[in-house]
Amino acid sequence: MHLGRRKFLAGVAGTAGGVVIVGCAAPERESRVQSFVLAPEHSLPGDSVWFATADAHSNVGNSVVVRTVDGRAKKVEGNPAFPINQGKTDVRAQAAVQSLYHPDRIKTPMIPAGKRGDGRYEEIIWERALDMLGAAIGPAGSFHLVTSRLTGTEARVAGAFADLVGGDHLVYEPIENGTFQAAVKKILGVDNTPHFDIANAGTVLSFGADFVGTWGSSVMYSQAYSRMRGGNRGRLTQLETRMSMTGASADNWIYVKPGQEGALALSIAQVIVAEALVHFDVWRDVVEAIGGVDVLNQYAPDVVAERTGVTVTTVQEIAREFVDRQPGVAFAGGPALAQTNGLDNGAAVLFLNLVVGNLDKAGGVLANPMAPAHIPAPLPETPFAGWRSYTDDLAAGTVPDVLFVYDADPAYGIPGNPGFADAIAEVPFVVGMSSFMNETVGLADLILPATHPFEAWGDFTADPGPGTQVVGFQQPVTTPWNDARSFGDVLLTLAPEIKGEGALPWASMHEAVRAGAEKLFGMEETGAAFDASWVELLRRGGAWEQAADVSEFAALPDWDATALAGPEFAGDAGSFNFHLIPFATIAIGAGNESESPWLQSVGDPLTTVTWTSWAELNPETAAELGVGTGDVVAIDARHGTIEVPVFVSPVTPPDVVAVPIGRGRNFGGRWRRDRGENIFSVLDPMTDTGTGSLAWASTRARVRSVDRKIAMPTLERVEEPRNDVEEPVLEVEGE
């Protein structure tokens, strides 16, 4: 064909015209509009409908309201009526919508397409998955159920199912709460978490507890802290080894040598007693109960100053201020309890509250009611020592027929050899259920997609409560986005198939949660008559007005301070000259929510580092090692080595290297995989001698440069810290 100039130009003009016309027209699909078959009540297309539900990512019991449009969750806010979080949320709750619509969620049940754990999977339908599960659990001689710290009805269903099939239920959490709870039991004699009334306190002594960041009910505590500041202008003294966000917010930040928090607390108590700052009627009996004044005198500030690293004057000032500005409250958490002497540290700090007599006082320590039996508080975790011996048993061949792991990742977080991943190699049938792949689920023979909390039923009792009983409900705010099912519903579907109809009293989680709510009020009306109350409970997100007796504090502590052992560390101080202090960050915590790019890119509040692990080093230490911010160092511990970039921080003590928890994962989506290092992989499996919890802050390490540098992913440019001595901010000359 001959293509002349005219034909060519005509063709070009025609094509361009066509492109313009087609490009301007609205797409065909936008001209179609579907009618509802059944129009939803109280909902118009494009209009927002808000539902109250649980913030299930926090294990302390916050309630949120979720904005939905056309049946899809769009935005999360704090539930303004809920007494715990009072309309506020943490950053992880805000990111919950992102994990809901995450492209790397497990979408359907799967089985390995090749060898177990090699990363290739084949999708199957739920019916086949349930058949496989029933066929495995039914005849199994032994069944082990491993979960996270489940709460409320879900915890009860899991326990009832394990009992039904004659199995064991183990609870795994990488950052344990057991030491704190045991210290509370010893000093206060109660089995639940008390309410530290920070809002009304004149002084707060926090030993390592990052309560405005990652420790305990941090959303509640943050607001209480703000009220304490705004009202009677109380003062916060933070005593810790690595400066946390709470430390940065404190009036007074005191460095304590690792594991010496208990000695320091007793030293403060000694000053109060020796200087008679408080009337002896208040402290006589409690001091006698722990061994008497002579025991306290062993901790006189001048005796322990070298051990604790805190000067005599400072201890005296803290003690005097604590008494002068009563009511006050003292508590310990974080690395202070993650030591071989963690229980004693926790007990000694709580003991300060007894010395000044501030139990059951506003601004002091208030008792909480126990959770109602049918909506239990989060289950206590199996102590790390138990997990370590369980892992050793598995590796030695004592394996269950079926291991069902839900929402827990022991293969990521259990330090020591052999690792959990290797130990389960001989288990004949491993089931993993989760919303995202993790190191444990990735090794399963059957992988089940779990619902997001916004897609499932549940309930919880806030732990700690604000001195009253607070129950919250979790309702689905949207239909499941993937082919996911709730863990409780899967167990309740399996139970009648394995043990016959009526094996468990409920057919679904919805039914079980509703039945729990009826029982909560001892409702006269049940069934249809309860409908209106039930809708109201869900609308509000929970119930908090019901009367419940608070636990009674013991009159005297059940703790003997006569012969306290000091902390022990893994690795000798000569060759491992740094204390390795892991810490949780506000965005990804212990790593459970690290799949979210929003959370990965939230800067750590003190360093603004995002997306990766880092090692905080003192400027002088860094200079000695010849490294600066961004230079990669190797951290060698007895159990392994990790390589992370340095962040030079003037608030890091010279003998400390601090590394965040939660990164360095091999599974779990494109934004979680292969970022940073897993600090658990180098920790020594040391335990607290009192409780068997993991002493995760008792590992020693050495640091060496590896002559590599990365561009540090920080949100702010890092300035060299100002030297206030040589370069004063303001100099006054003459008079």
Partner: protein, 204 residues
């Protein structure tokens, strides 16, 4: 000129044509496109022909002969932004007992039986950068006919107004169109005595 000639490279006639013709054509095309867009945006031209619907729904029979008020079926109109098309269930409220043997109603009943939605073709559509809120206009006593025409006479639903910004502004600037009383058909209070001319009211 002498200076310019010194600055510009010397070109052959052929080279001048190669550069000049595309530049001229491009300029003309841009000017034409701008003119067309101004014309479409300001003075109408977006009225589209009445589309074929999956069920031959007749507004003249419903709104005309039987005098069913618009809000009876378009229930969102007095409470929200969108007027909403009725659900299949809502059609069946009446058609379970009325006109069951008509071909359109048979199709409707089949959809209800199968619990399937009806896929209508949209007649009125505003661009994505406009947020139009029906309830505000209903509360201001603007009759539906102002924008949608005499729907009670339409056997086949069609667009009669361009619904472009010029038409919107025509009303919003015309203060004589404003309601005299504060009562409104939806029972909501009328908050404004005159329509807003603020860009962000519609473009947000």
């Amino acid at each position: 000129m002498g200076v310019l000639r010194g600055l510009l490279p010397r070109l052959t006639r052929r080279q001048m044509a190669l550069i000049g013709i595309p530049l001229t054509l491009g300029g003309l095309a841009t000017a034409g496109a701008v003119a067309v867009l101004i014309f479409l945006g300001a003075s109408g031209g977006t009225i589209r022909p009445a589309p074929v619907q999956p069920i031959a729904y007749d507004h003249a029979v419903h709104a005309g002969d039987n005098a069913i008020p618009c809000e009876f079926c378009h229930r969102g109109v007095s409470t929200g932004a969108v007027a909403t098309i009725p659900s299949v269930e809502q059609c069946m409220y009446c058609h379970a007992v009325v006109g069951q043997d008509l071909p359109g109603v048979l199709r409707l009943a089949a959809k209800w039986e199968a619990q399937e939605p009806i896929e209508w073709t949209r007649v009125h559509r505003l661009p994505d950068h406009v947020r139009f809120v029906h309830v505000t206009h209903i509360d201001a006593n603007i009759p539906c006919e102002t924008c949608h025409g005499d729907v009670e006479t339409f056997a086949v639903m069609k667009q009669v107004n361009a619904l472009n910004m010029g038409e919107c502004m025509g009303c919003h600037r015309d203060t004589t169109n404003q309601p005299a009383s504060s009562a409104s058909p939806s029972g909501n209070a009328v908050l404004k005595s005159s329509a807003s001319l603020d860009c962000a009211v519609c473009h947000r």
